[in-house]
């Protein structure tokens, strides 16, 4: 019954998608006709349609790297800050992966949490003595915690997992496969929302995550490995590629202020200048996404700011990359700057008089693109697809203005979701506690137990 429904849904979706493409084709003359009268609007419409359809078209040719038995040594690094609820689950998912035990090390770095995160880590340490637990002793920021993890790591491949993310059992084996190609410096896995069924906000993000990874990262990956952001929830780096750039990344400054977020984007950006960054759809992870709109907006603003910061670097070197990737990337940088004006223009043209900028045309065009993204999800997953349109509606009404809001508030480097703003500082080894991943002696275990009890 369910299978039959799914099949029917898929057939309908394909027909529907063809219908939407037909609609886009029919409106093309309309768009071209407005070129001379309204060049900004028409060019934006044409470019966005080519961009979206081009991405979709290419994404159908994406193939993941098959498991050819490549098993390098891997260090999974989990930076943790105030994650007492989820940290044990994250640690468990990392240790439970199907990967040779002697080739895997899991390093969890507590970044001066003010809650019971460290106690939870110690509990996990009792359960899994092979865990490498590090407590920085004070708060340095996520970047400091990641950097300390990197310095302590022994593995050839460094795999970062956010403290609110969970790896599938085969994720580590999958994520290391692309590294057989010497040109590859980093690999990003596929992430979906773990709490996707909580409410409309998380459902919407689930659809967004899915298509962002499958379509955007998938195509970037195909175009000579040019994934711009190896998202922090599940990403792997070749250790030998990271080490030379570690200091510059750890103490990155922007506009005279320490760069305190967008660590994943910043690291990828540095790797990408010399290496390839690919997407591996079979390396699956789940991540907890914001459940409150306020938190979601703050997260989006933070991402926007790091996107702004890193895009300035991207502008400088991306023309040397795959030309199609370069065109897509430059377009993707231009769109968010144009989009707010196009929205204001479309709405203003309608309500402030003058030649109508085609508000209805703009709305229906946006809707068509949103529907394509959502139907893509529906085809792949079968359910929740209509939440994709919620995301686009929210994007077009609120998030679109974050580009300029982000520029205005660029110097405010607080996290928004994480209540900490810190200056860069080298990790003080005197404050640090490290419990190595050796099978502990009984007395050590007792000490740990006593500490956890206290």
């Amino acid at each position: 019954m369910h299978r039959l429904l799914r099949a029917a849904l898929r057939v309908l979706i394909v027909c529907y998608a063809i219908g939407i493409l037909g609609f886009v084709w029919l409106t093309k003359d309309l768009t071209f006709a407005t070129l001379s009268r309204d060049p900004l609007f028409a060019l934006y419409s044409i470019a966005v349609v080519i961009y979206v359809l081009g991405r979709f078209f290419m994404s159908f040719f994406y193939r993941s790297t098959p498991d050819r038995g490549h098993r390098p040594s891997v260090s999974v690094i989990i930076p943790a800050f105030n994650e007492e609820d989820g940290i044990i689950g994250t640690i468990a998912s990392c240790l439970d992966v199907d990967y040779p035990k002697d080739l895997l090390e899991v390093i969890v770095v507590n970044d001066g949490s003010t809650d019971d995160t460290w106690e939870r880590i110690l509990q996990a340490k009792i359960r899994w003595p092979e865990l490498y637990a590090v407590d920085l002793g004070r708060n340095y920021g996520k970047r400091g915690a990641m950097a300390e993890g990197i310095r302590r790591a022994r593995g050839e491949v460094l795999c970062f997992v956010d403290s609110d993310s969970y790896l599938e059992r085969d994720a580590v084996a999958a994520i290391v496969q692309p590294f057989t190609d010497r040109r590859v410096g980093a690999v990003v896995g596929h992430a979906e929302a773990r709490n996707q069924s909580t409410n409309w906000i998380t459902k919407m993000q689930q659809v967004r995550y899915y298509s962002a990874f499958r379509v955007i990262k998938g195509t970037e990956s195909m175009l000579s490995g040019t994934v711009i952001c190896a998202s922090g929830c599940c990403a792997a780096y070749r250790r030998s590629t990271v080490m030379p750039i570690l200091d510059g990344w750890e103490f990155q400054k922007f506009l005279g202020r320490p760069a305190t977020f967008g660590d994943d984007r910043a690291l990828t950006n540095r790797i990408l200048q010399t290496h390839r960054v690919v997407y591996q759809s079979t390396a699956r992870a789940e991540t907890v996404v914001p459940e409150k709109l306020r938190v979601f907006f703050r997260q989006q603003l933070r991402w926007k700011k790091s996107w702004l910061r890193e895009s300035m670097q991207v502008l400088k070197y991306f023309w040397r990359k795959n030309p199609i990737a370069a065109i897509f990337t430059y377009a993707s940088i231009a769109f968010p700057f144009m989009a707010p004006w196009v929205v204001v223009h479309a709405v203003g043209g309608r309500f402030l008089g003058g030649e109508a900028g085609g508000l209805w045309f703009y709305i229906i065009g946006t809707y068509a693109m949103a529907l394509l993204y959502s139907l893509y999800y529906a085809f792949k997953k079968g359910s929740l697809w209509y939440h994709g349109m919620t995301f686009v509606a929210l994007y077009m009404s609120v998030l679109v203005f974050q580009t300029y809001w982000g520029i205005l508030t660029m110097r405010d480097t607080s996290w928004g979701t994480r209540a900490s703003t810190v200056e860069h500082a080298s990790i003080d080894q005197n404050l640090l506690t490290a419990i190595l991943p050796t099978a502990p002696r009984m007395d050590e275990l007792e000490a740990v137990r006593a500490f956890a009890a206290a």
């Binding site: 799914r6 029919l26 989820g86 069924s197 209805w360 529907l371 359910s383």
Partner: protein, 341 residues
Amino acid sequence: MITEEFTAVSPSRRQLRQTIVGLIALPLSMLPFIAYGTFTPEGRLVRDRAIVALHPPKLPELSSVQIESIAGSAPRYSDAVMVLAYHGIGSSDAEGGFVISPERFGEHIATLRTAGMNDVTADEVARAFEHGDPLPPNAVMITFDDGRADAMMFADRLLDEADMSATMFVISGAAEKPGVYYASWDALEDYSRSGRWDIQSHTAALHREQEVSDGRMLPALTSLTAGESLEEYRARVRSDLARASSAIQAHTGRRPVAFAYPFGAYGVDRTNNSKIQQILHEEVVRRYELAFHQDEQDSIPLATSAQDPLGLRRLEVEDWSGAELLLRIGESARRSERARS
């Protein structure tokens, strides 16, 4: 460690439920497209395009009974022209009224052809009226006003199939500003080249109403704006008609010879100065050999060389059946017959 949200419902039940909701949401998600194609002018045009692309309008197959009845009621006349005026074809009612369906227009075309009526262009009529060149028997001039994109899109296929031609009175200024309702010059050039469309003048930018000093809204072609002198009015009309003519000549390669008064207003009414009719007549005669309006629909005669060539009358075609159209043409023919005898 991590608790599932919906422990009460099994995952497969939930999946099934979500799939069903997804299926129901699918047709609902089409509503915005339907709304766009129904309530917005450009949306209606897109819908019309889709209709033309998926289901091109075709001339109806007439039954032998219909053909016989048409042959029986076909009007017969010579040295005269029946001038028909159409506005919109399709579903757009942006200009308010006078929109007929493509099927109806197809029926009209098929009926006219079966009745043995011969389509003529503005040039042919002008030559006939001015120099006495022969006109084909049962001549009919199919005219459209405004240069609307939807009308041309639908009518073009039908005219092609019937091997007939029509006259389009374009507002040259509207064609220059490519928008949605009006066909752009690019499209008009293509239509003109096809030989099915005779592009003539409907002013450059005077197809609008303006507020005059006493607060009334009057056609811009037949009224003085506040403080405008008659000389200024003459200059305004002259430069507008010059602009329209030169634009049409530049794009189609042919000088327009015919003019249709916007809103059918030529100065006898809907004006605020009694001298306007004379001035307008003088300005129109400088450029055009024929001019059309559509006053007094109850008594439209055939157009002949005996009439004022700048005051020719057109029959505004409504949503009539083919038989009714023939009946109306027949009435006009009889009216002209009576007038002649």
